[in-house]
Amino acid sequence: MGKKAEHNIKAYGKNFTSMTPGPFALKLRTCKIWQFIRFVIINIKMLIVVRKSH
């Protein structure tokens, strides 16, 4: 299951050189605690970009 993304790669097809997320990377994307931390960080980063743009 965790390696499902790898199974989509077709040898010498156009996606052969793609990187694919492993189980840990996929887990982090939906881990509520980690994502809450990222939420705070992304918001701060976005606010900095917004401030620099005005």
Partner: protein, 489 residues
Amino acid sequence: MARLIVLGGGVSGHTAATFAAEWLGSAHEVVVVTPNSKWNWIPSNIWVGVGEMSKEEVTFDLAPVYAKAGINYKQAKAVSINPEGSESSVKPFVTIEYTLAGREGESENIEYDYLINATGPKLNFGATPGLGDANGLGEFTVSVCTADHAVHANEEFQKCIQKMKKGERQKFLIGTGHGLCTCQGAAFEYIFNVEHELNKAGVRDMADLKWISNESFLGDFGVGGLHMKSMGFAVSSKIFAESLFTERNVDWIIGAHVNKVEKGKAHYELLDGTMGEEEFDFSMLIPPFAGVGLKAFAKDGSDITGTVFAPNGFMKVDANYAAGAYENWKASDWPKTYQNPTYSNMFACGIAFAPPHPISKPMSSPNGTPINPTPPRTGMPSGIIGKAVAHSICDRILKGEDAPLHEASMAHMGAACVASAGKGIFDGTAAAMTIYPVVPDFEKYPGTGRDTDYTFGEIGLAGHWIKHILHHLFLYKAKLKMGWTMIPE
């Protein structure tokens, strides 16, 4: 009393008009001319297009909001501008044609002291045979560019889901419908929402999804791609995009100019000059954009449309339109004040201003067909530019005609983009990205053209929550509810 007319009540024009009304107060008049009775938060049309939101959730009536703001609202479309007035009128004026129920087709001239053109794009479906015609979207594909289009897209999408539930395999083709399209980000977001919904409906294994676009590489997005800071590397958006497409098992065709669409089939030409065709059961192809076709006339009635507007119909502003080949392009080619070079009381903002040139490198097939994205002007830049232009005009009205103009160059401005996949609070993810600056400055940031401290992207629930917040925040702001001026564009 001075009168400012804003043409177009979309993202950029609404921002400009509402701030101008706030800053000018009742001593001066702000008029908005826009053909629509409702305001639409266009980014959420994506969710309407997969049945996760209704049209009502992404639109609201403009009339009560403009009444509250003291804005004189004309539900009409602008037809022409007389920036020098006419034989019978000393002042410049705009000719409008009402779309308001009961007054359809009625025409009126309105004089102005200052004019903002924020008419956005004409959705030029007619540029690709079969994609549509002069009347708009054709019958073979769907669109999510307007709320009504998105409602129709969802109806067709649900039919496909029903067919798959009955065991019939379906092919989905999503992307851009012409070699010179922009707005790849919207199509990108739509294909991953479709993929998410197919999973949710339990029919993903019955669907073949394919992306088709005019980008020369996946992840170009009309901004020549971007390098994002990730895991200690400056990683190209190509790597990110290819990874996402592979992970979600979405195939792709890039460098494609869709030159004809018929029932269930799209014909295309590739950058290498080869021709191909792709069959589909469901297809959402973004049309190319053009100016809305406003005309301009001199005092003696002669046609000066070519002086005021670029050949693509967008209004000329303070950009360098003579930059020439890609090798000569500079960040400083991009406009700063958005003032028309011929008529100083006329400005353009949002998609309505004529960019100096694309951002992505121009390319063409050996047959001479140009195939490259045209420059996007997304929500954040459109809002910031609208506000800056309103600021300049208000200063000139309140402080005098020599007041300096405010600047908002896309080469000094960033953009935040969130492309969702799904809508539930915990079952969706989104790619959250910032890009700074939108237009790369290779002199200031050698190599990538961008500041990689402020250009980043990642996929996860967090971006998804931000997308939800943005939806509610921008609708709240556009309705001018308490504290709206504090919410950034």
